[in-house]
């Protein structure tokens, strides 16, 4: 990948907590980082493979509750609970993904939306375990070898370090043969299959990877917030994630940060917006799909092209990531 951009991002992550003294702002940014982890997974499945999954919040929820329960009830270390929580998410995702080729557009959207509603119902219903609507409280902060990530600053570094690592891994993945195969699947199932791409296998793998990312995000979320409630991982969050992805620009990975930051920070900065958030989200989704399917990132792309090539049209390509890279034969 573009090493300079990556190291610049890493440097920014290292410096931000030192420059931003306000712990409230840091906390908001940490939450953005957690969403970004889940969003990178969603970009992989929706942006690159072209499947709409509304299940990311459900996977976050499963991991958050497993992680929370293991640390509060069984006294596990968060570091041990995280992989188990992610493992549980993988199991659930496998159950949803593998039996037959269920991963076509309609079915996946409906099954994942149903899944989010089931998990929310269970988190609410299994009161003895999950604490019902009030949520699971008293979850410990993340700790490694006795060092507790208690301050906002520590959590910021922890979450964004995880986010960067996942971003780097995913960036390499999408610029490898796998990434090219995924784009081929997105463009045309049949054509991809005739080029010996195992469409079903790739879809399942991508679905699992996205679930793993959501699991990591969920586990980090519960240890950062120190509690988890059904409202924090319901379908509203899932649709919010889709909005962030579409707003930022899907199929580019970088757009994820734009979308998450904008949609999460705006209402924080401009408080009266809170009431209009839903209306705004809906408008953004519909308007972008109609007028700017590449999201905000496509504007960045067209701006860069215009700068490089004076006299270029500067028109936004629908999906820059698909246009820039060529598919090797």
């Amino acid at each position: 990948m573009n090493n300079r951009a990556f190291w610049a991002a890493a440097l920014a992550v290292a410096l931000v907590p030192l420059v931003v003294p306000n712990s409230y702002v840091l906390g908001v940014l940490t939450t953005v980082g957690i969403y970004c982890i889940a969003l990178i997974g969603l970009d992989l499945i929706k942006g690159y493979t072209g499947l709409l999954s509304l299940g990311q919040a459900g996977f976050m929820g499963v991991a958050a509750y497993v992680s929370g329960l293991l640390t509060t009830r069984a006294g596990w270390e968060p570091l041990a609970a995280l992989p188990v929580a992610v493992g549980a998410v993988v199991l659930v995702a496998l159950v949803m993904a593998v039996p037959g080729s269920r991963l076509t557009g309609f079915n996946l959207a409906l099954a994942t939306l149903g899944f989010v509603i089931i998990t929310e119902g269970l988190f609410r219903g299994l009161r003895d375990w999950t604490g019902g609507a009030t949520g699971l409280v008293g979850v410990p902060n993340f700790r490694v070898a006795g060092y507790v990530f208690a301050s906002e600053r520590d959590n910021f570094w922890l979450v964004w370090a995880c986010c960067l690592v996942i971003f780097w891994l995913t960036h390499n993945l999408v610029h490898s043969q796998v990434g090219r195969a995924l784009r081929a699947v997105r463009q045309d199932h049949l054509a991809a299959a005739t080029m010996a791409i195992d469409v079903f296998r790739y879809k399942v793998e991508v679905f699992l990877i996205a679930a793993v990312y959501a699991g990591v995000a969920g586990s980090l979320y519960v240890h950062y917030m120190r509690f988890i409630a059904p409202d924090m991982v319901n379908w509203v969050v899932s649709t919010g994630l889709v909005t962030m992805l579409v707003l930022g620009g899907e199929g580019s990975l970088w757009g994820v940060f734009l979308g998450a930051a904008l949609l999460h920070l705006l209402p924080e900065v401009f408080n009266p917006l809170q009431d209009y958030l839903m209306l705004l989200q809906g408008l953004v989704l519909v308007a972008l799909m109609v007028y700017l399917p590449g999201g905000l990132y496509s504007l960045v792309g067209s701006w860069r092209r215009r700068v490089r090539r004076p006299g270029g049209t500067g028109r936004a390509d629908p999906i820059p990531a698909l246009v820039d890279k060529q598919v090797s034969p």
């Binding site: 929706k46 072209g50 499947l51 709409l52 509304l54 949803m96 039996p99 037959g100 080729s101 269920r102 076509t104 557009g105 309609f106 079915n107 959207a109 409906l110 099954a111 939306l113 149903g114 899944f115 509603i117 089931i118 119902g121 269970l122 609410r124 219903g125 379908w235 649709t239 889709v242 909005t243 579409v246 009431d275 209009y276 958030l277 839903m278 209306l279 705004l280 989200q281 809906g282 408008l283 953004v284 989704l285 519909v286 799909m289 109609v290 399917p293």
Partner: protein, 291 residues
């Protein structure tokens, strides 16, 4: 036994509402191949329109105007959001309807607030007692509503030129277009009718429950389960699916645990998607049984 009958009756009443939502979904799906994630919002809007109008007008007129209102919403939805992306991929269309659903929720929240509301019953609240079962009068209105809707739709699609043109468009848009049918306008009409049927479901169910701005997703999804049980392409299938789902839910809540009432529908959905290859097959078990 009386308890069983009572639970079943309640289930069938709620199931009729799922059936109405399912009919609306099937109509749009057949005409435009769009899976409308905003279908539940039609129901909510119908109830909320009637809630506002009932202060000014007699109840029946308020309900009628509310249905007209959701008809218009359906038309606008097609014109403003679906029409511009016609022919796009399935995922784009899904995101469009998802966005519309969030948009309508947000608008409803701003206009009507977050408090749940209810409507007065069309004919009082004194339950009728038939064979040991208590039947709320509104339940009869709902059962009548689904029966009349089914009958009207059957006559419309079988006997009128407009209805036959819609059937032709659903079967083969290209061929229908060649015979001079304006398939685009009929597609929009399907959204309007679907909105009206959703609105009807809303004004019928509102007296029996509380309606709030964000209730559309849950009811919309249950409509999907109803439609999917019926094969997604069949209106009688959606009705049967809705009634079956309502009965399953009520019996599940009565005999297992009421906490998991809403979970039942989605367990049915997931099982359906896993056992069958889901919505893309034209026939499902239920539909095969019906035809």
């Amino acid at each position: 036994m009386a308890q069983f009958g009572q639970a079943l009756l309640g289930g069938v009443t709620t199931g009729s509402i799922y059936a109405l939502v399912g009919i609306g979904l099937v109509m749009i799906f057949k005409m435009s191949r769009v899976l409308n994630l905003a279908q539940g919002e039609f129901l909510i809007l119908g109830a909320l329109f009637a809630y506002t109008l009932v202060g000014l007008l007699p109840l029946w007129l308020a309900c009628l105007l509310a249905v007209v209102g959701t008809f218009v919403i359906g038309l606008l939805f097609e014109r403003l959001a679906v029409r511009p992306v016609r022919g796009s991929t399935l995922t784009v269309l899904l995101v469009i309807t998802l966005g519309t659903s969030i948009l309508l929720k947000g608008a409803a929240m701003l206009i009507w607030g977050k408090e749940p509301m209810s409507l007065p019953s069309l004919s009082g609240n004194n339950p009728l007692q038939v064979a040991g079962l208590f039947i709320p009068p509104q339940g009869l209105w709902i059962l009548g509503g689904i029966a009349v809707t089914g009958l009207i739709l059957r006559l419309f699609f079988d006997r009128t030129l407009l209805g036959k043109a819609m059937v032709a468009t659903a079967e083969n848009p290209t061929a229908a277009g060649m015979t001079g049918i304006n398939t685009i306008r009929l597609g929009r009409l399907a959204f309007g009718l679907s909105g009206a049927i959703g609105g009807l479901a809303g004004v019928l169910i509102a007296p029996l429950t509380f309606i709030s701005y964000d209730g559309g997703t849950l009811i919309g999804l249950k409509g999907f389960v109803a439609a999917a049980l019926g094969g997604m392409y069949s209106i009688p299938g959606a009705v049967a699916g809705g009634l079956l789902l309502g009965a399953l839910e009520a019996l599940g809540a009565g005999y297992v645990s009421s906490i998991f009432k809403d979970v039942t529908a989605f367990v049915v959905l997931i099982v359906l998607l896993v056992v069958r290859s889901g919505l893309d097959k034209r026939k499902t078990l239920l539909e095969e049984g019906l035809s």
